[in-house]
């Protein structure tokens, strides 16, 4: 009886693991927008607005440049799928490895990179000036931020003696107090790199279409209709994916260590709460900070890298 309940719960957790991120992603985006609006003394749109946007885009006709090749048409699907596949690896509510074969953090980073690779190609595919420089900037930032992401998670991996994300989360929870200093350092590194990876302030402005400042938006300028919808959705999943990584790797307290219903319920609530806090953090940063000039970004990214490297040095 306990066995069958366990299995049922496991399947449930597995499904949750797969669908939770895609489903809640637009909401998180909406929440951040809302908080930002409130902080900026605006009323802002509803937190559900992103769902409506995506839905509307899905139903719209699309326009495609005749110069575009199959790369342009194929990219949104691949991007969406890589983001979702990457999301499966992230521990959301439990430290148990639900899918035993996934969860390696390098795989996660590189799977996400695959999406970016194609997105950058798609940006160049239509031959417009915007798309090209958007790709260039995106790849520049992505190349530099990859080190920060890898290293900040590596700090934890070394402490945990594993590169599996769920196991890292489980191990970090048990770390002695002195080890928290490197964890905090690594988190600062992670935060910077994550903002870059998800195209937030001070790296990119997700809400702009000004040619001088945009990176991500420039690449996808040619997209419309359902392809745009997929891309928008994927980027919001990407954001919540990184938020989840941040909250569950660096602050894993409350993650369910076994598959029982009460534990799962508590950890789900805790997880959502942590994500909400993180949303406040991001919104705060975006409100309090100006976007940096492009050539100032590398300094910040190298800072992230160095912070994580120091953290590794401190972690024995």
């Amino acid at each position: 009886m306990e066995g069958s309940g366990h299995i049922v719960l496991s399947i449930l957790a597995g499904i949750l693991q797969i669908v939770m991120l895609p489903l809640m992603a637009p909401l998180v985006t909406g929440i951040i927008r809302k908080i930002k609006a409130l902080l900026q003394n605006r009323e802002g749109a509803s937190v559900l607005q992103p769902y409506r946007d995506i839905g509307k885009l899905f139903r719209k006709d699309e326009v495609i440049n005749p110069d575009a090749s199959w790369v342009f048409r194929f990219t949104p699907y691949l991007l969406f799928s890589t983001t979702v596949v990457a999301g499966i690896s992230v521990p959301l509510i439990t430290t148990i490895r639900i899918f035993g074969f996934t969860g390696d953090f390098l795989t996660l980073v590189y799977t996400l990179a695959l999406g970016v690779f194609f997105l950058a190609l798609a940006g160049m595919d239509t031959g417009s000036s915007f798309g090209g420089f958007g790709s260039s900037r995106e790849m520049t930032v992505a190349a530099l931020s990859e080190g920060g992401i890898v290293f900040s998670i590596l700090t934890l991996a070394i402490a945990a003696r594993t590169t599996n994300l769920s196991s890292i989360a489980a191990a970090v929870e048990l770390l002695p107090l002195p080890s928290l200093i490197p964890v905090i350092l690594a988190f600062s590194g992670f935060l910077i790199a994550m903002l870059a990876e998800t195209g937030r302030f001070p790296f990119d402005n997700p809400a702009t279409h000004l040619e001088l400042t945009m990176i991500h938006e420039a690449m996808i300028l040619e997209y419309s209709g359902r392809k745009l919808a997929l891309i928008e959705w994927a980027s919001s999943i990407r954001l919540v994916l990184f938020i989840s990584l941040g909250v569950n790797l660096f602050f894993p307290w409350g993650l369910a260590s076994s598959v029982t219903f009460p534990l799962l319920a508590v950890s789900t609530v805790l997880y959502l709460f942590k994500v909400l806090l993180f949303c406040f953090l991001i919104a705060g940063i975006e409100t309090g900070m100006a976007k940096l000039r492009f050539f100032r970004l590398p300094d910040l990214l190298f800072t992230s890298f160095i912070l994580s490297a120091i953290a590794i040095g401190l972690m024995v």
Binding site: F58, R59, K60, D61, E62, I64, N65, D67, S69, V71, Y77, S81, V84, V85, F101, T102, D104, T107, Y110, T111, A113, L114, F117, A120, L121, M124, D125, T126, G127, S129, G131, G132, F133, S135, S136, R137, M139, T140, A143, L144, E146, G147, V150, F151, L154, R161, T163, N164, S167, E222, G225, R226, L230, F294, F295, P298, F305, A309, G313, V316
Partner: protein, 684 residues
């Protein structure tokens, strides 16, 4: 001579077959087509035999060897093929097979212009040289075949000898590789001084008697010598100019396998013959690897010549191989054989992978070049519409080299990362620092490589044509596409079946590291691949399935749910002006931001040429050309001063030949007096 049909016989017959092919090709030199066919068919059959031979050695685990004495006492024609040699024979044969298939139609455009018989001769000699290099068992014999390989490749580099640029590239190549050989010779001579033999087996048996100072000197000499061939920074300067000068299928071989022979010999020497080694050897190699990987990719980014760019990526990938190799040496020195096995597997795996995807990319580049007659990225564009299959294959190669899952580049890079992570967990702060920086360099390298290949693929195949060069491009001959397709398939298979590959490589590594028989290899089966004590595990089939399946599901789901969407084809809004190719981003423009970020390392020089409509009123420029180049700091701060110093010294020596007969007689006089003073004084 071993009996016909035994495995030892094949050791001898495979190189002999290539040499026969070389001779036949040369004899047919008057008939271009026959020479091409002969050279190609001999290479293809020889390579097929080589694959079978290598696989049978790898599978059976036997060691094939033959040795024939020669007229010279210290020289014997000795071959010995253990699993490491067999592994390299396999890589070489595999790439040779595909490149030769590719070359059959490719070489046609040289008909009538250059000597095809000679090409076939040099090509087959080159292959025979490579095969013999990885199977030689005597130092002098090794040096001979090593130089044969270098010489043949030199002639292949200058094959299009009317172009002064190729001649210059060839000269630099020859000079550097010959100097490198001198370092190798010196290393062997030192070993000979202490062990009294040039035979690898003898040296290995008395390796423990070599004094540390000699051993360390040999290490440094061999590192310089073989590092030059491998193209490790700072000895790489020949590589970016030499590889592009050769015909593309040869470039593929040079980049894909020839430079690996340097890696092979480093493995052979340090892990096998001279083992055990002190820890700092490994750290030096790791550091060199880290520097080469990062700088290689940065130089590649600032390059617009497609073949040069690929050549720079070879430097990068050799750096990655060095990371694995160096870590293996280091872990062996501290006695951690299990991790050493992992590191070696990473190095070997990446060696294989790089051969496959670099071969693919060079063949692809060769196709593009032969269709457009230019090597400049700035003149391509939109080729995906003229040659969709080539584009797809090239994209596969690009993804593989950028370490994108689920292709093969990812898995070896993943293994290398894991190797470095093991180093980071060590106790010594210094060692940890080295490994941390190396891992950082690798992480950065991966990202930059992806950026670079976005640039290459984007500017070459996507968007609109940038020049007329593209307009007459079309798909190449079937066999050329087939060769590339097989390589592309291999990038997938090598990624998908990482588990079985790793278990084979583990055997090679175990034999090489001297810990055969102990189960130290990373546990691997068809489905997954894990590291000791569960540090990490990965399942490539699942990653593959998820990515392909996921994409398919998304695609069909979206199709199914939103059927109503209409797709309109319409030009991009162009603000009223015609969209022209000049509005597309250029290769230079694409990488400019990265170059500027790393300007401390790359030292870019920018040159702007502006032409105005009106001489007096400089408000409306007609054209403006920005040229972004990297200062060649090795040239400026090392090679150029070196050459200048030698030239200056030569100037002093030249003054001996002053032209004055009185001075000449005076030399004789002074020599005589000087000798008398020295010797008669000493005799007293």
């Amino acid at each position: 001579m071993p009996a016909l049909g035994t495995i030892d016989f094949w050791v001898f017959i495979i190189p002999a077959w290539f040499i026969a092919g070389a001779v036949v090709s040369l004899l047919l030199t008057r008939y271009d087509h026959a020479a091409n066919l002969a050279g190609g068919l001999f290479a293809i059959t020889g390579a097929a035999a080589g694959i079978l031979f290598a696989v049978s050695i790898l599978m059976s685990g036997t060691i094939a060897s033959i040795s024939m004495p020669t007229s010279f006492p210290w020289l014997s024609v000795s071959f010995r093929v253990d699993s490491l040699s067999a592994f390299f024979v396999l890589i070489i044969s595999l790439l040779v097979l595909l490149c030769s298939v590719y070359a059959l139609p490719y070489v046609k455009h040289y008909y009538g212009k250059y000597n095809i018989g000679l090409l076939g001769f040099m090509y087959n000699i080159f292959i025979a040289g490579m095969i013999m290099v990885v199977t030689a068992d005597n130092g002098i014999f090794f040096l001979i075949v090593w130089e044969i390989m270098s010489l043949a490749s030199y002639f292949l580099v200058i094959f299009e000898r009317d172009n002064p640029e190729h001649i210059r590239a060839g000269s630099v190549y020859f000079i550097m590789t010959h100097t490198g050989t001198a370092f190798i010779l010196l290393a062997f001579l030192l070993l000979y001084r202490t062990t009294g033999s040039f035979d690898f087996a003898v040296i290995k048996n008395s390796a423990s008697a070599i004094p540390p100072l000699v051993k360390n000197t040999v290490f440094l000499l061999a590192l310089v010598g073989f590092g030059t061939k491998a193209g490790i920074i700072p000895f790489h300067t020949w590589l970016p100019s030499a590889h592009p000068s050769a015909p593309s299928h040869v470039s593929a071989l040079m980049s894909g396998v020839m430079i690996k022979t340097g890696v092979f010999m480093l493995m052979r020497l340090f892990l096998d013959i001279m083992a055990p080694s002190p820890g700092w050897w490994g750290l030096v190699i790791v550091a060199l690897g880290a520097v080469s990987a990062l700088l290689g990719v940065l130089y590649a980014l600032s390059e617009h010549d497609i073949k040069k760019l690929l050549a720079y990526h070879s430097i990068e990938n050799i750096g990655i191989i060095f990371l694995g190799l160096g870590s293996a040496l280091f872990f062996l020195s501290i006695g951690d054989e299990a991790v050493a096995a992992l590191c070696l597997v990473a190095a070997l795996y990446h060696t294989f992978n790089h051969a496959v995807f670099k071969g693919l990319l060079f063949l692809g580049a060769g196709t593009v070049i032969s269709e457009t007659h230019t090597r400049s990225l700035e003149e391509y564009g939109g080729l995906i519409k003229y040659m969709p299959q080539t584009a797809f294959l090239f994209l596969t190669g690009s993804l593989a080299i950028s370490a994108m899952p689920p292709l093969n580049g990812f898995i070896s890079e993943w293994l290398t990362f894991q190797a470095l992570f093991s180093g980071i967990q060590l106790r010594s702060a210094f060692v940890r620092g080295v490994f941390t920086l190396a891992a950082g360099s690798l992480a950065l390298t991966g990202g930059l490589a992806a950026a670079c290949f976005v640039k290459v693929f984007g500017t070459t195949f996507l968007a609109r044509p940038r020049s007329h060069a593209v307009s007459h491009a079309s798909e190449p001959k079937l066999s050329m596409r087939a060769a590339m397709a097989v390589l592309a398939l291999l990038t997938v298979l090598l990624g998908l079946f990482a588990g079985p590959v790793v278990s084979i490589l583990s055997k090679v590594a175990a034999e090489l590291g001297g810990f055969a028989g102990r189960a130290l290899a990373p546990p691997a089966d068809v489905w997954s691949l894990g590291l000791r004590d569960g540090f990490a595990n990965i399942s490539m089939p699942v990653v593959f399935a998820l990515l392909t399946g996921g994409t398919a599901v998304v695609f069909f789901a979206v199709r199914a749910v939103f059927q109503k969407g209409r797709t309109v084809t319409c030009r991009t809004w162009d603000c009223g002006a015609d969209l022209s190719p000049r509005m597309e981003i250029t290769a230079t423009g694409f990488s400019r931001s990265i170059i500027m970020i790393f300007k401390g390392i790359l030292k870019p020089t920018q040159q702007t040429d502006t032409e105005y409509n009106d001489a007096s009123m400089r408000y409306f420029p007609k054209t403006s050309v920005v040229t972004l180049k990297n200062a060649n700091i090795y040239e400026t701060y090392f090679y150029r001063p070196l050459v200048n110093t030698i030239t200056r010294i030569s100037g002093y020596f030249k003054k001996i030949q002053s032209g004055s007969i009185n001075a000449y007689v005076l030399y004789i006089f002074l020599t005589l007096i000087g000798l008398l003073v020295v010797y008669v004084m000493r005799g007293m």
